[in-house]
Amino acid sequence: MLYAVVSLAVTGLAFGALLAFAAQRFAVPVDPRVEAIKKELPNANCGGCGFASCGALAEAIAGGRAPVDGCGVGGSPVAQKIGEIMGIGVEDKEPQVARVKCLGGKAEAEELFTYEGIRDCRAASIPQIQGGFKACTYGCLGLGSCVRVCVFGAMSMGPNSLPVVDDTKCTACGKCVAECPRSIIELVGRSRKVHVCCQNKDKGAVARKLCKVACIACKRCEKACEYDAIKVENNLASIDYSKCTNCGACAAACPPKCIIDERPSEECEVAAS
């Protein structure tokens, strides 16, 4: 018994000493800034920055291979702190949120055929099957690749098989933006309340046949806007957010209602009157 206790204790001590010695002998000099930056990062390891982990991003920032505001999730406050560590000033950026810019769900958009393949938007958009089962070649396929790629649980499939973003959970990491084969999702400033939710660049008459809520390039939004913030180019309206004042006049004027106005309803009524 005594033998057992003593031998195990001695072995443990011996190994401990060996490890302590090895730790000193094989010490690798680490840039102290890496640790400091890593402390500031969210450490959710979401991969939104394009690096494998928060640690990898911290090393890249310290090594000058990534910008100090490289972490989209941490946003401005984190960028500021990292800027201090690195001794670089940071411009203030507005916090962002993901927006799905298509309203053509099952009820609104025509389908060319019934798709029975792999339940993934990337698989469903290959050229061998006409680039998708939707008649509109720009719209959301609704198979939820973006939902699966979101590590924050901020996305879910709505009843109309369109993805819905939960603003309280979205960190603007940009993974869904990169995942969507049709580039429907965009990161927009959180203060932005009016969005053109259509990607269709077909001519108006064609677009209308494909989807009830497609932009028909009628230019009524252009005429309604007092700030010159919305323009129709390539048969599709787009908002210049730097000029937009969230007045909602374009959304009120849009016949197919493909421009959404996210403000609380009482504000919208004021704009319409």
Binding site: Y3, A4, L8, T11, F15, A23, F26, V28, R119, A123
Partner: protein, 195 residues
């Protein structure tokens, strides 16, 4: 010929995953992608082979002379955990590239039952030093074979239309079971070699 038998035994006949059910946690945890499975495989092969050497020596020259074989489990855990820590430090210093490649997988193996299992099985089988090392290496290769095959299957499962209740671990465990059943086909191979 014995070595060949030990190799085949570790790879196919008594595969660590499909016949001995050892190392199931990392097998399920790290098999979502082929890349991570490959990284883990490298780490496991390395650690189990080295651990087989060290534990065999430890058993032969410390436990057996002192008549302390009953401390095998405890002391082997101690040896393996220290060894992995030590290996991690050395790799960090010697080859940062390899350290990056193995990354989180090395420390994950510190207390893996597959490593301890290999060490204890070596002692139970009364292997000599070389045989023990070969057996450890074979067992680790068998484990790697299993996880690489399984990662391929899981990548396809990810894109399949699976009933909600079976998504994730349930379907993974069922698939593993089916693979284990297919590996039963190797039972009885080289019986005369494996006694």
């Amino acid at each position: 010929m014995t070595y060949f038998g030990i190799l085949i035994g570790g790879l196919l006949v008594s595969n660590f995953i499909f016949a001995r059910f050892l190392g199931i946690c990392p097998f399920l945890g790290v098999s979502k992608k082929l890349e991570t499975a490959a990284g883990m495989s490298m780490a496991v092969i390395f650690v189990i082979t080295v651990a087989s050497m060290i534990t065999w020596l430890f058993n032969q020259f410390i436990l057996v002379p002192l008549g302390l074989e009953f401390l095998m489990t405890v002391s082997f855990i101690l040896v393996i955990a220290s060894l992995v820590q030590f290996v991690e430090m050395v790799i960090m210093k010697v080859s940062p590239v390899l350290y990056q490649a193995l990354g989180i997988y090395l420390p994950l193996i510190t207390t893996n039952c597959a490593v301890l299992g290999a060490a204890i099985l070596n002692v139970r089988s009364h292997y000599g030093f070389l045989e023990a090392v070969v057996a450890g290496f074979a067992a680790a290769c068998g484990w790697s074979l299993a996880i690489l095959l399984f990662a391929g299957i899981r990548e396809r499962l990810e894109l399949s239309d699976i009933p909600e209740v079976l998504k994730g671990f349930p379907i993974a465990l069922i698939s593993t079971g089916l693979m284990a059943m297919s590996f039963v086909g190797f039972q009885g191979l080289f019986q005369e070699l494996l006694h």
